[in-house]
């Protein structure tokens, strides 16, 4: 079973993503801020990380850079979730080391399929 780490501060959106992914058979671990997200990633080495960009304190860009610089995690795909505030954000997201991004609000009909694209063979 593939493990997905979700780093997201909004409780309802976290529940939403967790529910969708669990329904599709993924194992979900979650963190509510960047620092504990990085810790959890080190501990669990997930198959994919879903990262909210607008996080309190340590923002998503910083978290992505930290994750990518860790030798254990450099290979783990990161998918950013963003409300796409301003143009230029996308470039910044990719420059920070994310493999892709999904715009908020997420579309529950296509969300899981979109994520699987970044997982290669590991998704089921």
């Amino acid at each position: 079973m593939a493990t997905i780490l979700i780093i997201e501060d909004n409780e309802k959106n976290l529940y939403l993503a967790t529910f969708l992914l669990e329904k599709h058979g993924f194992f979900v671990v979650a963190a509510r801020d960047g620092r504990s997200g990085i810790e959890l990633a080190e501990k669990t080495t997930p198959d994919l990380i879903l990262l909210d960009i607008q996080l309190p304190e340590m923002d998503g860009y910083t978290v992505a850079r930290a994750l990518k610089s860790s030798p254990n995690l450099a290979q783990v795909p990161i998918v950013a979730v963003t409300s796409y505030a301003m143009a230029g954000d996308r470039e910044r997201i990719l420059a920070a080391g994310c493999n892709g991004y999904i715009e908020k609000p997420i579309n529950p009909e296509t969300f899981v399929a979109e994520i699987m694209r970044y997982m290669g063979d590991e998704g089921q």
Binding site: N13, L16, S83, A87, G88, P105, I106, N107, P108
Partner: protein, 407 residues
């Protein structure tokens, strides 16, 4: 012979006297100050013009020291004139031209430009200074006024520059505030919408358990309204960004056909509901363009959804062709059409044409104004042709390769 000589001598004397008289007259009457003074500063001669100019009688000046009579101790500039005069006497060659302040009997200060020359008294063979002076007080005053005017002007310019700088900084910080506000709004508004749309979708997919028909119907309405709200938020944010000059555009190569397919897919359902035929005619040479994919798609989607929205019967057709550096998209419909008079207002924000039917069509009237601004931002143009009651064609021309400077 002797008498003849005497007579000649007498007539020569008369002639010399006459010449002397003439010279004296010239010196006395010339319109400038003629002054002779000794190196110790004593006046030996001053002409009539000079006396009248300074307001002294002859005996009040002859034999008197220049300082204290026609020369003040100090200039208003602070220069010590006694020292200056000593220097003039010592090095007259350095003071061929010299401007200094002088003083009248009345105490009035004047500016005089002097030309000085060392001469020798014929009788005593002693050196004396011959000085010619003209009054330049008016010029000095004018220069002074000019200088003050310049100073005032410079000060005003400096003040004005500072004001403008402050205004600019204020505007810049207002701008920063605006973009921060937009970014925050964008995030804050989407976060709750994310869960509304998301959970409705989960429920509708039956992921949380089976639904009855009525529940499905109502949840469908919630989802449609939430999506509508999202469109509105996006439009308002877009127009604010455009107005604030903060719409950045990307330039990336993308497949035009694929994008047109996506646009059709997005309006397909709506068109099918109304029984409209929908299709695209893409010229064979159309392949890629370099522009902001997201924005080009947004423009076409706006035009296509308008076409579907304002058409009851018939078809909506998307056409695309390239010609040289320009790619042309047109969206054609057989809908209600637009009156000639209404054409002007079409691209203004919040304008919905009042057809009496307006309320029958949902929308805020932002779509076309955003389209127009986006098209222009991408270096292109948009136009419309319509026959009222028959249908409309919106045509949008864009550069095949967007260059930042072309916008």
């Amino acid at each position: 012979m002797d008498r003849r000589n005497k007579r000649r001598q007498r007539s020569m004397k008369i002639t010399i006297n006459e010449i002397q008289k003439k010279y004296l007259e010239v010196v006395e009457n010339v319109n400038c100050i003629v002054l002779r003074w000794t190196p110790d500063g004593l006046i030996t001669f001053i002409n009539r013009y000079g006396r009248e100019f300074f307001g002294y009688a002859e005996e009040e000046l002859i034999g008197k020291h220049v300082v204290g009579t026609i020369v003040p101790e100090k200039e208003t500039t602070g220069r010590d004139l006694r020292l200056l005069l000593q220097d003039v006497c010592r090095h007259p060659e350095r003071y061929e031209h010299n401007t200094n302040q002088n003083m009248c009997k009345s105490g009035k200060l004047v500016w005089v430009e002097w030309v000085n020359k060392l001469v020798y008294d014929e009788r005593t063979k002693k050196p004396e200074l011959l000085s010619l002076g003209i009054d330049i007080s008016k010029r000095v005053q004018a220069e002074e006024e000019l200088r003050q005017l310049n100073e005032t002007l410079e000060r005003r310019i400096a003040e004005r520059t500072a004001e403008l700088q402050a205004a600019l900084e204020k505007a810049q910080s207002a701008d920063r505030l605006k973009s921060a506000f937009l970014a925050t709004m964008s995030h804050e508004l989407r976060t709750p919408l994310n869960s509304i749309i998301g959970f409705t979708g989960i429920l509708l997919q039956g992921l949380a358990g089976p639904l009855n028909e009525e529940q499905t119907k109502q949840l469908g309405m919630i989802r449609d309204s939430a999506r509508h709200l999202l469109d509105l938020i996006n439009d308002i944010l877009d127009i604010s960004k455009i107005e604030a000059g903060q719409l950045e555009v990307a330039a990336e190569a993308f497949d035009v056909r694929r994008m047109i397919e996506e646009v059709l897919e997005a309006v397909m359902q709506q068109a099918a509901k109304k029984g409209l035929t929908i299709g695209a005619a893409i010229a064979h040479d159309v392949s890629e363009m370099v522009s902001d994919r997201r924005r080009v798609k947004q423009i076409l989607l706006n035009l296509a959804s308008n076409a579907v929205k304002f058409t009851q019967h018939g078809e909506v057709r998307l056409e695309c062709k390239t010609q040289g550096d320009t790619i042309t998209f047109s969206v054609h419909d057989t809908g209600i059409g637009i009156r000639q008079d209404d054409m002007d207002n079409l691209f203004k924000p919040f304008q919905q044409i009042d057809t009496g039917l307006t309320r029958a069509y949902e929308g805020t009237g932002l779509g076309l104004s955003i389209c127009k601004r986006l098209v222009e931002r991408l270096g292109g143009s948009i136009s419309v042709q319509s026959v009222y009651g028959k249908g409309s064609t919106f045509t949008c021309m864009l550069p095949v390769v967007y260059q930042a400077s072309s916008a």
